[in-house]
């Protein structure tokens, strides 16, 4: 099953550990919060992703099945809200 990264933005407190451990898919914004590339993870990156997930001190980072609804690394959008975005 394909997976992608998701961050719980309420739990995340910008420790930045994740971006250090998994720069292939996580960078930090101007305020130190992670910006995720939430495309499906190829198999060879899953281990790296898991390491970042396990290291997050806030347990804010998750690997979720790709078929879970939602877009652009956000937590789940209310269904239908995608149409609000350009």
């Amino acid at each position: 099953m394909k997976r992608r990264l998701r961050v719980d933005p309420i739990a995340c407190k910008a420790h930045g550990v994740c971006a250090e451990l998994f720069p292939e898919r996580i960078r930090l914004d101007d305020w130190g919060y992670p910006v995720l590339d939430d495309r499906p993870l190829p198999d060879e990156l899953v281990e790296h992703a898991r390491r970042a997930v396990d290291a997050c001190p806030r347990t804010a980072l998750h690997l979720v099945p790709i078929d879970e609804r939602g877009a652009r690394g956000r937590p789940e959008l209310p269904a239908g809200d995608e149409q609000l975005l350009p």
Partner: protein
């Protein structure tokens, strides 16, 4: 506040803007028909009713999602009358004039979902509205004692408190803050039960569809966007207020229904503080249909149409709205609670002409970077509005940067940006 009616399309707003009591309501609307839940949901689906709280989500899908889950455990029905958008008046207007139509819609939903609780939520600052509703609910209980009781609950008047997960938190005895989904309200909401949250206008339309049917509902508007919508029209119009228009009306017709432009219109903020600016020349011929607006990068949101006349400054208006949206972040998510104030501060510097190299490019980059990264859509609305201002007021922004604030920006604000205290 005027509750004018236009285009011969008025369904929700009465011809005479006076509060309708229960007896008068039954006389105009007729008794509520008995429906099985499934029949009613199918009828809402055929009608093509979409939500009027901002996201235009199909009502039947949401009702179905809750109804399916409620079989085992029951459900909760919540009417969202928070209306925390400062430029919006339509929900309080509807509730002041036709409270029983809204109650009808909520009670129909309650019966379709076998709801255990039916709750109407209003902002704690709306004393007048709460008083009206207390009286209307008391009248309803006396006249129709067999109906389920509708509870009236107030929640702090903050912008994000009207967001559905914030309402649910409040009803669950926690602070009125949005939370991350899933679980979504239709699966787990108030008291852990499947919860239907609809805007009060959505419930009012549902109550009419139950009586008159999908075919009647679709007889105005267009095939893609049937029916009417309430709009709060403000800014540079001669008669601001709440108007009811069919979806195939153009924004030009909406402005005409609001007495026509006051001053030479240069831009329109479509959808409110959650919406987007468009040049008046572009906006004028667009219809309110989601497809028509979407092609122009717009969305109707909760139905605010604000007209910017030439003697007001779009940069100054946007500056104040962005500051408002930044203040109204609930402070839970970094990209929103840090990003929005940073974006607002940068925009403010621009408005004051405190030039910094690359300031507009940074605004544009942040407006993209922040978007989609909060637990709720608050930052998405604010950043889309900011991005549209960067485009539509491109020339004005550069003029501010070069020469400092324009003369127009010293004028009193066109659009309200109150400091909300939560009281």
């Amino acid at each position: 506040m005027s509750a004018a009616v236009a285009g011969g399309a008025a369904r929700l707003l009465p011809a005479v803007p006076s509060a309708e009591g229960y007896t008068a309501h039954l006389a105009t609307a007729g008794p509520l028909p008995a429906f099985s839940g499934d029949e009613l949901i199918a009828e809402l689906g055929r009608a093509g009713l979409t939500g009027h709280g901002g996201a235009a989500f199909p009502a039947a899908l949401k009702w179905q999602a809750v109804a399916e889950r409620s079989r085992a455990r029951g459900a909760v029905v919540v009417g969202d009358a928070m209306e925390t958008e400062p430029a919006s008046l339509k929900d309080r207007t509807l509730l002041a004039l036709r409270p029983h139509l809204v109650f009808d819609g909520m009670l129909l939903a309650a019966s379709a979902m076998r709801a255990r609780r039916v709750v109407l939520c209003v902002a704690s600052s709306s004393d007048a509205l709460a008083r009206t509703l207390v009286a209307a609910l008391a009248e309803r209980r006396r006249a129709a004692p067999h109906e389920p009781r509708i509870e009236l609950v107030t929640s702090p008047s903050r912008y994000i408190a009207g967001e559905e997960t914030a309402l649910i938190s409040r009803l669950n005895g926690r602070r009125a803050l949005p939370r991350a989904v899933p679980p979504r309200p239709f699966a787990t909401g108030v008291d852990g039960l499947p919860t239907l949250v609809n805007n009060v206008e959505t419930f009012a339309h549902a109550a009419l569809i139950a009586r008159r049917g999908a075919r009647w509902f679709r007889s105005v508007g267009s095939a893609a966007a049937p029916g009417t919508t309430l709009l709060s029209v403000c800014g540079g119009v001669a008669a601001p207020g709440v108007k009811e228009m069919a979806y195939d009306s153009t924004i030009g017709q909406v402005v005409a229904a609001a007495g026509g432009p006051a001053g030479d219109p240069v831009a329109v903020l479509v959808g409110g503080y959650f919406g987007r600016w468009a040049p008046a020349a572009t906006a004028w011929s667009l219809t309110l249909e989601p497809g028509s607006l979407r092609r122009a990068g717009l969305a109707l949101g909760a139905g605010v149409i604000a007209v910017l006349p030439r003697d007001a400054c779009g940069v100054a208006e946007t500056d104040r709205i962005l500051a408002f949206m930044a203040r109204e972040s609930s402070g839970q998510c970094g990209p929103c609670s840090r990003g929005l104030p940073a974006l607002a501060a940068l925009f403010h510097d621009t408005a004051l002409g405190r030039a910094r190299p690359g300031v507009l490019e940074t605004c544009a980059r942040w407006s993209l970077e922040i978007r989609g990264r909060g637990a709720c859509r608050h930052p998405d609305g604010a950043t889309l509005m900011a991005a549209s201002a960067l485009e539509v007021f491109h020339d004005e922004l550069r003029r501010h940067l070069r020469h400092g604030p324009c003369r127009e920006s010293a004028r009193p604000p066109l659009l309200p940006t109150p400091v909300l205290t939560g009281r």
